[in-house]
């Protein structure tokens, strides 16, 4: 197992920008800020009673989500959880359609059949439509990776789950099978230190999740997810190793879940001093903005402009979602199977498919 730390990656001689251009660094900042702002605003709307359903905040973990997903190519597939909307936005999902999903509208990626971050866009951005039974998508990621291997395609599947899901049998099954067949897959564990309310010491006995990789015969890397560039560097190495036929890698990204498991959970089980320290010292968004200013890639004015841009994108998405029609009730039984062609036709502006 390798432990990667920002300090190690940021020695004066090291390539601090890990091979990324100025434009790519700006893109990362935009994504980080977009994901943070979306998360904050959606929680506010939820608390005001203006957002139906549930919310699952990924705040404080944007370094993980943006960093790992940025290492994927468009043709690579991503199998995330409800916590990982930021990874899906990084993969390219349209914020307007994402917001339409939250309000149960026809323009949402699931056409109103699921809500919140239980979202995906397989046809477009190769992301799995999220399910709750974690890590239910880990075995499925094995299947996608098997398809790439059988066809000899230079593509990679990436599965993300939390520390909580590593206690489930499927997690072990999937890692084992992926190693046996040297599948082109990257396993990301977003260790935000709590499985709902259960802390790491009640989830596993070994000191780290990453060291479990040795048991399956694959490399394991533990990375401090406060630093998006370090996460990206580790993920890129793993993705390119998988693409080149080198088999799977387990990456443990360590952060802290700043908010509760879901919108209703005040998370009083997280010690206040721990949370405050992470928010003060390990905020992946603020740290990255500070780094780019310090390195002279952008100035404070540009940071403000990025913030204004994400706020306007959010407002645009909100207006789009509110204007999007609801699906028509008559369609509730359609599209269970391919036989009726429901999904093969585009919905009308009245929300039905005729």
């Amino acid at each position: 197992m390798v432990t990667s730390t920002p300090e190690r990656a940021r020695t004066p001689d090291a390539d601090w920008r890990v091979g990324l251009s100025d434009d790519q660094l700006r893109e990362l900042l935009h994504l980080l800020k977009l994901c943070r702002y979306f998360d904050e605003r959606m929680e506010a709307l939820y608390r005001q009673g203006r957002l139906p359903g549930a919310i699952y905040s990924g705040r404080g973990q944007e370094g993980t989500h943006v960093g790992v997903a940025y290492a994927l190519r468009p043709e690579d597939s991503l199998f995330p959880t409800h916590r990982d909307l930021s990874a899906q936005l990084t993969k390219g999902l349209d914020l307007k359609r994402v917001m339409a999903q939250y309000w149960g509208r026809i323009d949402g990626y699931t056409r109103g059949r699921d809500g919140n971050s239980h979202i995906g866009d397989w046809f477009g951005h190769r992301t799995w439509t999220v399910m709750s039974h974690l890590p239910i998508a880990y075995p499925v990621a094995c299947g996608a990776a098997l398809a790439y291997k059988l066809r000899g395609e230079p593509r990679v599947a990436m599965g993300i789950c939390g520390d909580g899901a590593t206690s489930n049998g499927r997690w072990h099954e999937a890692l084992n099978v992926s190693a046996i067949h040297q599948l082109p897959v990257v396993w990301v564990v977003n260790n935000n230190q709590y499985a709902y309310s259960t802390p790491n010491p009640l989830e596993f006995r070994v000191p780290t999740i990453a060291e479990r990789a040795a048991a399956y015969g694959m490399p394991g890397v533990r990375v401090d997810a406060q630093d998006v560039l370090d996460v990206y560097r580790v993920a890129r190495e793993a993705v390119e190793r998988a693409r080149g036929g080198g088999g799977p890698t387990l990456i443990e990204c360590v952060s802290l879940r700043w908010r509760g498991h879901a919108g209703h959970d005040p998370a009083k089980y997280v010690p206040r001093e721990l949370l405050e320290r992470y928010m003060r010292e390990k905020d992946p968004v603020a740290r990255f903005a500070g780094l780019l200013v310090e390195r002279g890639v952008i100035d404070e004015e540009e940071v403000k402009r990025v913030q204004e841009r994400v706020e306007s994108e959010f407002d645009e998405g909100y207006r789009f979602a509110q204007a999007s029609p609801f699906p028509v009730p008559e369609d509730v039984t359609k599209g269970l199977f391919t036989d009726d062609g429901y999904w093969a036709s585009e919905p009308s502006r009245e929300g039905g498919t005729g």
Partner: protein, 348 residues
């Protein structure tokens, strides 16, 4: 073509080889299933098999004996004992354009992959629009003294799950034609073979590689006028035997073989009941909340005006399948039980 290859591939492996067609072209259910797999793998390179011990060993029941020599280990993929991941592998590969057929050594072990089947596989298309051409197949059912964990009939569990097509053939030709249809279907199909039928029932089976039986259609296996028996799987054969005896007693029995549980062919059931006015629903899964409950309710709701007697269910009690021959016989509906139930209905 496929027949010759399947037969040559059957030679020389395992303690209990799959066997061959008879000289007059009859095939067992086991051979018919192997032919379906073989033909579809020849026809479409996207079709591949995965499961436990299906490669060199040829599967616990020898369905895939000889396949690895013809199609290689990538298309006849041995997996570890990891049923959730077997389903996940099939689902993920299907999402990327393959048409996987996963073998479960026994249908009992589908419960070890239950969440991936009923949550992931079944519910994915409705929420995403992605076609999921996956077949899960395995031997179900009792009557072979295999006790609780090798005799289960899981069809009600999967029939109750929206998003799965559940297929339970009783004859070799139907098994072949339905399995080929399932492999060509763009939706998840649970194909439940019956291990009692595997080597016991043989008949002439079509050799045309495009012979298909449509999913969702029942078949009247015997015409009659007094009482309808709606059934499927092994119980079709018990019903046919009972119908012979009842014929001698002057009771004419019509037998509707469902062949697929979902989608349910209501029309064939209702047409038969319109003719006979009496219905017995006979099935091997547990009586309580089983296939008979649904079929009975369909007849009551949509065919009430045809009925001259209440719809009757005959099915095992709500206990696990027991081992002792005495207990298993008490558990499974016997021919004599069927005859008694039909006589009572006919006399109503």
């Amino acid at each position: 073509m496929a027949r010759a290859q399947v037969e040559s591939a059957a030679a020389g492996h395992g303690a209990e080889p799959r066997g061959k067609r008879t000289e007059d072209g009859q095939a067992t259910y086991l051979i018919a299933i192997a032919e379906a797999l073989w033909e579809e793998m020849e026809r479409d390179e996207r079709v591949f098999l995965l499961g436990e011990d299906i490669g060199v060993y040829g599967g616990a029941f020898k369905v895939t004996e000889g396949f690895i020599e013809r199609f290689g280990p990538e298309r006849v993929m041995d997996t570890p004992i990891a049923e959730e991941t077997i389903v996940g592998l099939a689902l993920g590969a299907a999402m990327e354009g393959f048409r996987p057929v996963a073998e479960f050594q026994y249908a009992d072990f589908m419960s070890s992959g239950f969440d991936e089947i009923t949550t992931a596989l079944a519910r994915y298309h409705y929420r995403s629009g992605v076609p999921i051409p996956v077949v899960l197949r395995g031997p179900s059912g009792g009557g072979v003294r295999a006790s609780s964990f090798h005799s289960f009939n899981p069809e009600p569990l999967f029939a109750h799950t929206p998003g799965l097509k559940v297929i339970c053939p009783a004859f070799p030709s139907d098994a072949k034609g339905l399995l080929k249809s399932a492999i060509r279907d763009d939706n998840p199909c649970v194909f439940l073979e019956h291990k009692w039928i595997y080597r016991r029932i043989k008949e002439p089976v079509p050799e045309d590689p495009d012979f298909l039986v449509p999913i969702g259609t029942a078949k009247v296996q015997r015409e009659g006028s007094d009482v309808t028996i709606v059934t499927y799987g092994m119980m079709v054969h018990q019903a046919l035997e009972a119908a012979e005896d009842l014929e001698h007693k002057g009771i004419s029995v019509e037998i509707v073989d469902l062949r697929t549980i979902t989608p349910l062919d209501k029309q064939t059931i209702l047409s038969s009941v319109a003719k006979t006015s009496r219905a017995l629903v006979l099935y091997e899964s547990h009586r309580f909340l089983g296939v008979g409950a649904e079929v009975g309710a369909v007849i009551a709701e949509e065919g009430f005006e045809h009925l001259d007697a209440p719809v009757v269910r005959l099915a095992p009690p709500n206990v696990p399948v027991p081992f002792s021959p005495v207990l298993e016989d008490a558990y499974l509906p016997q021919v004599a039980d069927i005859e008694a139930a039909v006589e009572k209905l006919a006399a109503w």
